[in-house]
Amino acid sequence: MFEILLDATVRAGTPILFATLGAIINERAGIINLGIEGLMLIGALAGFSGTYLSGSLFVGVIAAFCATFIAGSIHALITVQLRGNQIVSGLALTMFGVGVTALFGKSMVGLTIVGFKRVAIPGLSQLPFIGKAFFNQDLLIYFSFFLVFMIWFFLYRTRWGLGVRSVGENPAAADTCGFSVSKYRFLAVTVGSGFVGIGGAYLSLASTPMWIENMSAGRGWIAVALVIFAGWSSPRAMLGAYLFGGITAMQLRFQAMGTTISAHILQMLPYFFTILVLVISTHRLQKGASQQPEGLGLPYDREDRK
């Protein structure tokens, strides 16, 4: 029972984990991206189409990354190059994603592919309790583990990462040290968007190997909230994503067991917890434990006089 629940937790949490990681990269460089929901949909459709047309799951994942990389560059162009309003641009990106995937996804509705298969890691998958849930999964889940570590390493142990963080905290300081603010911000937005796209692709290639209109169902918004819960750190994003995965898995389980609680109430739970977590984490922020990048949401203009 516990193992099944944990397994379902990881599978439900992974798309949100990818999306949260992508959003963290965006926000670490100081750019708010509210287009996560739209990017997930674009990633899901691109991943599905890529796999359907080529017959290769790998091609599908690459297609999802590239499509959202390009979609993310619209946001980057508006917010970094043109110094536009990040909130408006992000919301527009979500609406664009919803619309464009509904339009181009029409021909993909009802088609099927063979999705990602479980690959047991010898040895580790035999561990009691957690072995099955964490090490008898598909390749994308293993990739998400790797990505959590990679992003932490990148941000805290490489000079590039120092640049990304500095650009998000105090762009003027990075600029006067010779770092190109626009280059770092642009790449953070596009690469981060690419990882969000892989989260979308997980939905259409692993969770349910098909394309359904609007299949992200608000997971992108949960990711936006989770960034704050995670305090802009990738290991804590993993914790947060699995927390929501766990609530989702549990409510599904309740439904399967045939409780008398209305299914609508149960389906509401993960979203309800989003609100709860946001209230708690912002309350903590006010108490001075803020890890929010100081330059978050502020366009950088070198010649701006304060």
Binding site: R159, S166, E169, D175, C177, G288, P293, E303
Partner: protein, 505 residues
């Protein structure tokens, strides 16, 4: 002497403002060249052009006789130009190590943490600084942050070092230490552009002085060809400095009594720590201390903008601890804030409206729930006349006034209800000498009429000139009082770095 850099006919405009207008000067190898000018004369703008942050509209920068065009700070760094900015270019959330690493040249993308930590530690040891590499910068004192900025500059192999008011947050002793470093660099053949408005420092260290006035370079003088008064008169030109006379009329009546005050800031650190202060009627009490040692918190607590964690404040025996800003004002405390544009005024509203902002509720400026435009206008005309405010055409938003005139608007408003106590936080920061003189005059005249002033300032000369008593603050504590007539800058300097003096006053 060979010029390592020459600036020719630089012009730079911002929307509505000509910041630089035909500026030329040059720096030779191994010289300390001072840029002198009032605030708003264009010193910082010019340096930002030199470091590639601003693009000039016209004019040339020549390095070793060749025209150079900077597109970003990176180009300027590549030419060996480094700068310590007046507003720190530090990342407060990052550690000391990361801040210095950010500025280090040629760090590989995958760097060895151990190797670079050793390297940075060695740099810090060279300056005898007691800094922990892993402390986030926001936890450090402003003085320590200034040293980190200096280290960032010094470890790069720069040919030309620009220091924009580096001494503003240093004690006199630290300044002397910095000057020794600068002289050593000069001997090594490096060139330094030094910006300060403290005349004493300019006289001490400069080889040449170039004077900027209203965006133009007026003249360049070689050492020996200038003295303090000459520089001052060149800098100010024909502007008149208001004259005032200081009388000693301090009584023994205590108007403000602060007892055991403790205030913690948003980050949980102590801004004020068991702080005591007594203000007498008609007294000008100067507060000396390096910026960031609790002065701001003191002003904010006194004016009700911040709550206390412990301790009491009495104004004329009335307990005003933790009352709101309006109540504090009614209790007789007026406030000239540090940041006049963001806290002092509503920048987009007119002068008339800003002048009544503290008394808009009073019957004289309203008819039932509507504004009494006539009375507001009459009040503005009176104040503009009385305080000689250059306010521009009717209804001009205050933001378009010069710093000095904005300050006059604030003073006119704050003094309109005849306060018993004025808390002035850096009231002359960023003002030209004429306007600063005006602020001094208002404070001195106020004292004549029995107003007590807490004057928080960073320029010791200003404090010594104006105050009846000087209280010295360090790390949120009162170190002691000194009498401005029989103290020395050195004594105050020692107290500013936390050393308790022998019995005085």
């Amino acid at each position: 002497m060979t010029d390592i850099i020459a600036i020719k006919n630089i012009r730079k405009t911002f929307p509505g403002v000509i910041a630089l207008d035909d500026v030329s000067f040059s720096v030779s190898r191994g010289e300390i060249h001072t840029l002198l000018g009032e605030n708003g004369a264009g010193k910082s703008t010019l340096m930002n052009v030199l470091t590639g942050l601003y693009h000039p509209d016209s004019g040339q920068i020549q390095i070793a006789g060749e025209n150079i065009h900077f597109t970003s700070p990176r180009d300027s760094l590549a030419c060996g130009i480094g700068m310590v900015h007046q507003h720190f270019m530090l990342v407060p959330a990052h550690s000391v190590f990361e801040n210095i690493l950010l500025a280090l040249d040629k760090v590989p993308n995958f760097y060895s943490r151990k190797k670079y930590k050793e390297k940075v530690q060695k740099l810090i040891d060279e300056f005898n600084l007691d800094l922990d590499l892993d402390t986030p910068v926001w936890r450090l004192s402003i003085g320590a942050q200034q040293w980190i900025e200096l280290i960032k500059l010094l470890m790069r192999d720069c040919k030309l070092l620009i220091l924009d008011e580096p001494t503003a947050v240093l004690t006199p002793q630290e300044t002397a230490r910095l000057f020794n470093v600068l002289r050593k660099l000069k001997e090594q053949g490096k060139s330094i552009i030094f910006i300060s408005h403290k005349m004493r420092e300019v006289m001490e260290i400069s080889d040449r002085v170039t004077i900027l006035k209203k965006g133009r370079s007026i003249t360049t003088r070689v050492r020996g060809d200038f003295d303090e008064s000459k520089l001052a008169s060149l800098m100010i030109g024909r502007d008149k400095v208001p004259q005032w006379q200081k009388n000693l009329q301090m009584s023994d009546e205590i108007v403000l009594d602060i007892q055991n005050l403790s205030v913690r800031n948003d980050r949980g650190l102590s801004d004020l720590d068991d702080f005591n202060l007594q203000l007498k009627k008609g007294e000008i009490l100067g507060i000396a201390g390096v910026a960031g040692n609790g002065q701001k918190a003191l002003a904010e607590v006194l004016t009700g903008l911040k709550n206390t964690n412990q301790g009491r404040i009495y104004a004329k025996q009335k307990d005003i601890t933790n009352s709101n800003a309006r109540y504090s004002y009614v209790a007789g405390i007026a406030h000239i804030p540090e940041d006049r544009k963001t806290i002092g005024i509503a920048p987009d509203m007119s002068v008339d409206e800003n002048l009544i902002m503290k008394s808009f509720k009073s019957g004289s400026f309203r008819n039932w729930i509507f504004q009494n435009k006539k009375a507001i206008k009459r009040n503005a005309e009176e104040k503009i006349e009385q305080f000689a405010i250059k306010s521009g055409p009717d209804g001009t938003p205050v933001r378009y006034l010069s710093g000095g005139n904005i300050q006059k608007v604030i003073i006119a408003r704050e003094l309109s209800e005849k306060p018993a106590v004025l808390v002035a936080l850096y009231p002359t920061r960023g003002l030209d000498i004429g306007s600063a003189g005006y602020v001094h005059k208002v404070i001195a005249d106020g004292a004549d009429q029995g107003m007590s002033t807490i004057l928080i300032a960073e320029d010791l000369d200003e404090l010594l000139k104006l105050s009846d008593r000087i209280a010295v603050m360090f790390r949120g504590r009162l170190i002691g009082y000194v009498d401005p007539r029989n103290t020395t800058r050195e004594e105050i300097g020692l107290m500013m770095s936390g050393e308790t003096p022998g019995e005085k006053v």
